[in-house]
Symmetry: D2
Subunit: 273 residues, 4 copies
Amino acid sequence: MRLLFLGDVVGRAGRAAVVGQLPGLVSRWALDFVVVNGENAAGGFGITEDIAQDLLDAGADVVTTGNHVWDQREALVFIERQPRLLRPLNYPAGTPGRGANLFVARNGARVLVINAMGRVFMEPLDDPFAAIEAALSACPLGEQADAVVIDFHAETTSEKQAVGFFVDGRASLVVGTHTHVPTADHRILPDGTAFMTDVGMCGDYESVIGMDRDEPLNRFLRRIPAGRFQPANGEATLSGVAVEIDETTGLARAVHPVRIGGRLSQIEPPFWA
Amino acid sequence: MRLLFLGDVVGRAGRAAVVGQLPGLVSRWALDFVVVNGENAAGGFGITEDIAQDLLDAGADVVTTGNHVWDQREALVFIERQPRLLRPLNYPAGTPGRGANLFVARNGARVLVINAMGRVFMEPLDDPFAAIEAALSACPLGEQADAVVIDFHAETTSEKQAVGFFVDGRASLVVGTHTHVPTADHRILPDGTAFMTDVGMCGDYESVIGMDRDEPLNRFLRRIPAGRFQPANGEATLSGVAVEIDETTGLARAVHPVRIGGRLSQIEPPFWA
Amino acid sequence: MRLLFLGDVVGRAGRAAVVGQLPGLVSRWALDFVVVNGENAAGGFGITEDIAQDLLDAGADVVTTGNHVWDQREALVFIERQPRLLRPLNYPAGTPGRGANLFVARNGARVLVINAMGRVFMEPLDDPFAAIEAALSACPLGEQADAVVIDFHAETTSEKQAVGFFVDGRASLVVGTHTHVPTADHRILPDGTAFMTDVGMCGDYESVIGMDRDEPLNRFLRRIPAGRFQPANGEATLSGVAVEIDETTGLARAVHPVRIGGRLSQIEPPFWA
Amino acid sequence: MRLLFLGDVVGRAGRAAVVGQLPGLVSRWALDFVVVNGENAAGGFGITEDIAQDLLDAGADVVTTGNHVWDQREALVFIERQPRLLRPLNYPAGTPGRGANLFVARNGARVLVINAMGRVFMEPLDDPFAAIEAALSACPLGEQADAVVIDFHAETTSEKQAVGFFVDGRASLVVGTHTHVPTADHRILPDGTAFMTDVGMCGDYESVIGMDRDEPLNRFLRRIPAGRFQPANGEATLSGVAVEIDETTGLARAVHPVRIGGRLSQIEPPFWA
Ligand SMILES: [Fe+2]
Ligand SMILES: [Fe+2]
Ligand SMILES: [Fe+2]
Ligand SMILES: [Fe+2]
Ligand SMILES: [Fe+2]
Ligand SMILES: [Fe+2]
Ligand SMILES: [Fe+2]
Ligand SMILES: [Fe+2]
């Protein structure tokens, strides 16, 4: 089973890359399932219903999010009628939308997608480890789920790696998101879960985490805002990770980064060539 | 001019990788200058005089550090007699040791090495941007320095990228350290400075940032320490970045990650093959 | 009904004040119930079984704690056999000890004591608001409980005040602890709950939050530890709050700070004179 | 010499208290010098030129600020023509306005006022201890200054107390601001500096730090903003500290809290009765 995960889509440049290239990848690589993190898709901050639909139309099966999920307030409403949009699982009880859901892939496999948020240097939400445990218990890999994908949106490498080991052997893939920079440590953990500390963003890398660099630099140097953060508008790099999942065990057989277009070194999964 | 930068050496496994492999790389690649971050070399926490000497003997011209620099208290003393060990520049006035220094490379080039620390989600030190500016002004690239290397030890990708753009065209290389995970965004910035958000660690990656995973996982799950952090002892990956520097301008001609041994995907600079 | 709450007991000086003065206050004021926060009682860090017993022997009915609860590791064990020692309620499921419990006061009243910890600028624990809600629902004021006391151990004034309003009318008293400085904003909230943002510490105030000032000052000035934190050993001020609780409603009729001995201005509840 | 310091003025209610009562206090107590922290005077966020003028007209000699100083962007401009408005001293070089200045009191005394900001759980600015040291050295008590007042705007009690001991004997008064809650630990430190960890706010205390409590409670409970923070509009408590300064030494002879109006217990300096 062929799964692609794309990191945080940032602004117009990021959306253009996804909309322009994902349909071709779905068919070229015969993808069974695609997850895209869309928390920065609307001008860098949040996501609208139209933009979520654009990402789904381009080939995403599920759109995950993170700390920016509610920046566009309409998300609080339309998330209730859009089961393919997830928000972090560990928001308080009563939060609109869902943090985990079961989907059917193109090959018929049942894929559990979990979106959770870290707490180190982030907002204080409920315990993500306990929340992930509960979601996995309700729908275990090899029983109700044929594959399990976890988007763990977090700041520190340590918390992300801890989640990887916590679910090793119980998930097909754990990816970190949020830092907007791809890491080079993709690998299969000892018990079969594919892991990558951060998949990076789909955005213009000639920037400070996807934003035009003037205002971030101004704030670091002067400590006084001079304007808003604006997404950088150069060509985006589509940044993500490709996983070949064993259909009997639901564990990873191969994992490889994907970087297409823009400023970063280009790379594609050799096993789908 | 050929420069190699290796990220945070973690514990015995990291030291074994550096001591075992760096001498061979220096000769195979005809390296002119080598910088190694050694802040976690002593059992994961700090550095001793003997260990610093081991890293220098293995081929490092300079050993940089970060927030763990003083974990072994002897560092406060021996740093005064070891000019090749740097501590973050932006500690208060009066701190033992130096945060920047000029060295002579094997090819005779004068290399300014600056070690500074970020402040976002880190300890509050003096402004690293102002400190770097002062160090660059005192010894500018193309005047007193033929090459400039900056080790910016910081948590967030945004602060590291801001430093990159801040000195673009005024340094040969800016690398981030501290997260212990290599990023895949190595590139040459518009005005000629090679950049990589984090070079990763020289340590065992089957771990939580180089540490045996039991205690980190215990703390995330139970929030109560059950013991000390211990470095993981599996085979380390030597993780760093290779830069080809133009000897007339001091700017980067090529940049490429290095990952040798251990669990990560293996990669070497094609331009030195 | 007469209730006294004393803030964080710090080290030997703090213990001496409690052991020396609390028995006299219990009899002089005819106290029905006494709660003492003991998280810093053992050398400034945590609490031992012997020290907990000393505080109970001196007249405390319950000893609450906070982020330092496990600093003395024996607390993980003896808390299981000491129901009068509470640890923050919002630790993960499975944590030793209890965060809330029902006690019988000298006047026969059933007193629910809840100890919870804030999350702003603190460790990430479970949601304290949800945890307090659950504890109150299980044992509501006016039903299973004749009085309810909440020790909310937190850094920021905003989170503490939010807890006050959250339970207003459902608790007899909400006090903040942790900053080691008494606030002067004791009052009865609109629906009858007595509130004080922080009750301060029982410790020597010629200090930095109860600790000898040399090492804290050293760390602020030099950013490098030069030794351990040691409790200051001058005469402690007993610092707390006195509440007169209506026995029919369980709400507060009067609230007043208590400060006896040491460096701070001296004050006692006029309504018990 | 008689000095009054009033804490953070919050919104319309806080301004009404200052404008309504300060003129009377100046004459009734024959005040020589008045400092008011105005960082929240404009709708809770920042200060405008008109509002600064209102506070000065009401009797303030100097208006200090804190982290909210630039929330009203006009402050970046008018601070340059208003030497009686201070911003934190430890902003980067080149920041508009001043962080310390010498003023002449009604009794002819030269008063150095320093406004600095802490770094623990605050924005990373330059070292406040070094900045205060430099300002004191440039204008020492007993030489160029007859009195020295320091408004240290900070979150933690420890950093504020450390500043107190750091300048003990070199300043007339150190007050903390920012938490919006008055502490009850006013005292004269061993070498003669009056100190109070926080003077509290001039605002409506039936609130969460001066703000209408609905939105703060909503955010703590749901973690999703539902609207803006609005200042609470009930009667404000004028909250501050009164200091009697020895005119020969410039050190404190007496210190006492001031709380007039609103919800808190009422208190006035007995030594000026
Ligand atoms: Fe993002
Ligand atoms: Fe994010
Ligand atoms: Fe490190
Ligand atoms: Fe580090
Ligand atoms: Fe405490
Ligand atoms: Fe505490
Ligand atoms: Fe304020
Ligand atoms: Fe403030």
